[in-house]
């Protein structure tokens, strides 16, 4: 199953190395990792998408990350209401015939064309990973020349609806 782990870290030299090292040392499978600055000076946010076999494994990863001295906070946000976005840049081959077709595909996905040349155009698309995957599938037949994805970045929504209401109640 897929898990999204969000963490804040001290922006010190080697901190990303510590995290990726931990993943390889413990044999964890990482799908994407994105890093960027936050509103606090000296603090960065890292969002990892990982593949795990069980919840226990996800818990173990969270705990191991938490142990790292440069990591301030680790949260498994997979089961929370979250906003998650990824950005992709796609260079697609075009001919005068296909160019208009491509524009028609781009519009419903709210993607944008950010560069055009004689025989190709560059599309920028943001959204959740599923949406980007669907778009890439759609574009593939036209011939993708180059593709760059940023990996997911995410955090919890301001208002949390109870996602998994507790089913059992105890009166003691």
């Amino acid at each position: 199953m897929k898990k999204i782990i969000s963490m804040t870290v001290l922006n010190r030299p080697g901190v990303l190395n510590r995290i990726t090292n931990l993943f390889s040392k413990r044999n964890y499978n990482i799908e994407s990792i994105s890093v960027g600055l936050t509103e606090q000076e000296g603090v960065s946010r890292i969002t990892c998408v990982i593949h795990v076999e069980s919840d226990r494994e996800a818990e173990q990863i969270t705990k191991q990350l938490n142990k790292q001295i440069d990591i301030l906070k680790v949260t498994d946000i997979s089961d929370q209401a979250i906003v998650a976005r990824e950005l992709a840049l796609i260079k697609v081959l075009t001919t005068p015939q296909t160019r208009n077709e491509l524009y028609a595909l781009i519009e419903p996905f709210r993607a944008a064309v950010i560069d055009i040349s004689k025989d190709s155009l560059v599309i920028q698309i943001t959204g959740e990973s599923d949406k980007i995957e669907a778009f890439i599938e759609l574009i593939k037949p036209y011939g993708i020349k180059e593709l760059a994805r940023t990996g997911t970045t995410a955090f919890p929504r301001g208002t949390q609806k109870p996602v998994n209401p507790q089913k059992t109640y105890s009166i003691v």
Binding site: N17, R18, E59, Q60, K67, I69, I71
Partner: protein, 571 residues
């Protein structure tokens, strides 16, 4: 006028300090008594300052020996072991020791030299990416980039190494930073917002555990090295007595609970005793205090403690639930958790049948060995135990002799046992005994070694002579890499591939070459006489003990088997 200016200048000069000055000042502040270090190009500025320092500096004859000695020192003294190595090969030579300390949670503060800042990354002479290499094998590591950070970094390093779950911390110091002259920097506070180990247990979890103990029919305590690192052995004894709980030890936990106590069961695991392994297999409540459910302890996890509710007290939350699903997690220091449990003063469980059962197992299936014409290693260890009244510090290497020592030397007190458990590092024993003796100079230290492991650190004999450390080096010589030979005998159809080493130097003559007295022992009678003579002497002695080369360690659990599937439990 001119004279005044010159005086002012010289005054300013005396106030200036180098990075190396700051480093030594910081070490003195941490009350460091001994440094295990090896000089080299990149640490010359530091060594120049060490020339005038009051701190004892021990020069091992290989950096790996130095860091193992620091581990032995840390294990016995409870204080962090301090190591200095130069850049490049000096640093890479301590990698094994760092990993060993990381696995066995030993506090170390290790300084490595680095090439000057302006050539880092240029593949300079004796340059190695020490931060990159040591990140996965240290609790934390630093590279000093500004001279004014040295005091804070050293302070933080000692704090990180010794607090929470202890471990090695490395500080990489470029040569120019150590040599730079600067004004004494302003004091900086420790800044570690992401590091707050939990020491106090959660009260509700303690109550839950206490209630589980009262209800249990077959409870056991499994005590690991956390009890020793947390200096909680007296609390463990008090709690076990209050609740009448039988105590099982891991290999590294030995000494945490007195072996002559009626509640002591024995060591568990691959070569543990029958009663301990059956106790773990049959118990209905397993209270793990400071052990990490290592695979050599649990055997096949599928069959591990199948009937038990598992409670786990550990200062490292990541250890709880890592290998064994845990019903009652308690994140805390062992000492604090045990104090709270004692305070609960819960109703002791009604489990007299269980205690009887354990005693029956102990009586029916004790450790055993056969008699023969050749000298049995188990016999030798029994003799060492008797002659030292069980109060010596026993330091071992890795292999058969290590298991026999764990089985036959009955540890009654904490801080008497030094062994490489998690990493199983051959060559550990001899240098570790140097650190152990320095940590407790008056006590008898016995280095129980194999002929294989001894030859991995022979060069450290010089250090023992140099410091005249009265270490008793007992080489259990079976002319083979015994544990490898044992596995080849059992699992590889007696195909002894490269495990027999009949061509050896004369260890007695070798000892003499280093200026140490050496004796060969072939019989129990010889051992009897010699032990009497040498164990109380105040000088180093090497004993080449020729043991039965075909002796195996039993009982044994084959890899992949459960704890209940021991072989060799009966003669």
């Amino acid at each position: 006028m001119l004279q005044q200016a010159a005086m002012a200048e010289s005054k300013a000069k005396t106030e200036m300090v180098t990075g190396a000055d700051l480093l030594l000042e910081a070490l003195e502040k941490e009350k460091v008594e001994v440094i295990f270090g090896y000089p080299g190009g990149a640490v010359l500025p530091i060594y120049d300052k060490l020339y005038d320092s009051k701190i004892l500096h021990v020069l091992p004859r290989h950096e790996q020996g130095g860091i193992h000695a620091a581990e032995g020192y840390a294990r016995i003294s409870g204080k962090p072991g301090v190591v200095i190595a130069t850049s490049g090969p000096g640093a890479t030579n301590i990698v094994t020791g760092l990993t060993d300390a990381m696995m066995d949670s030993l506090p170390l503060v290790v300084f490595t030299g680095q090439v000057p800042t302006n050539v880092i990354g240029s593949d300079a002479f004796q340059e190695a990416d020490v931060l990159g290499i040591t990140t996965p094998i240290t609790k934390y590591n630093y590279q000093v980039r500004r001279i004014e950070d040295i005091p804070r970094i050293v302070k933080e390093a000692f704090f990180i190494a010794t607090s929470g779950r202890p471990g090695p911390v490395l500080i990489d110091i470029p040569k120019d930073i150590a040599a730079t002259v600067s004004k004494p920097p302003e004091e900086q506070e420790i800044k570690l917002p992401g590091y707050q180990p939990t020491v106090q247990p959660n009260y509700l979890q303690i109550r839950k555990l206490s209630e589980a103990v009262s209800r249990a029919k077959k409870p056991v305590i499994l005590a690991g090295a956390g009890v020793l690192l947390g200096q909680a052995s007296s609390e463990l004894k008090e709690y076990a007595e209050q609740q009448q709980l039988p105590v099982i030890h891991t290999l590294l936990g030995l000494g945490g609970f007195p072996a002559d106590h009626q509640l002591f069961v024995g060591m568990a695991g691959m070569h543990g005793c029958y009663a301990s392994n059956m106790g773990l297999s049959e118990c209905d409540l397993l209270i793990n205090i400071g052990a990490r459910f290592d695979d050599r302890l649990t055997g096949n996890l599928q069959f591990f403690a199948p009937h038990a509710t598992v409670a786990h007290i550990d200062i490292d939350p990541a250890e709880i639930g890592k290998n064994v699903p845990t019903a009652i997690p308690v994140v805390a220091d062992a000492k604090e958790a045990l104090k709270e449990l004692i305070k609960q003063n819960g109703k002791p469980p009604a489990h007299s049948e269980w205690l009887e059962q354990i005693h029956k197992w102990q009586e029916e299936y004790p450790y055993h060995y056969g008699e023969s014409d050749t000298l049995k290693p188990q016999k030798v260890l029994e003799m060492l135990y008797e002659k030292t009244a069980g109060d010596a510090i026993v330091v071992t290497d890795v292999g058969q002799h290590q298991m026999w020592a764990a089985q036959y030397y009955q540890f009654k007190k904490a801080n008497r046992w030094v062994t490489s458990g998690g990493l199983g590092t051959m060559g550990f024993g001899l240098p570790a005994s140097i650190g152990a003796q320095l940590a407790d100079p008056e006590r008898c230290v016995i280095a129980v070694l194999g002929d294989g492991g001894f030859q991995m650190s022979t060069q450290e004999l010089t250090v023992i002579k140099e410091l005249n450390l009265p270490i008793k080096i007992a080489i259990f010589n079976n002319l083979s890499l015994g544990m490898v030979r044992q596995w080849q005998e059992i699992f590889y159809d007696k195909r002894y591939s490269h495990s027999k080493i009949p061509i050896q130097p004369s260890f007695v003559k070798l000892a003499e070459a280093y200026g140490i007295k050496g004796y060969e022992i072939n019989t129990a009678e010889e051992a009897e006489v010699l032990f009497e003579e040498v164990l109380n002497s105040r000088e180093p002695v090497l004993l080449d003990i020729r043991i039965d080369p075909d002796e195996n360690v039993y009982p044994m659990i084959a890899p992949g088997k459960g704890l209940h599937e021991m072989v060799g439990v009966k003669p």
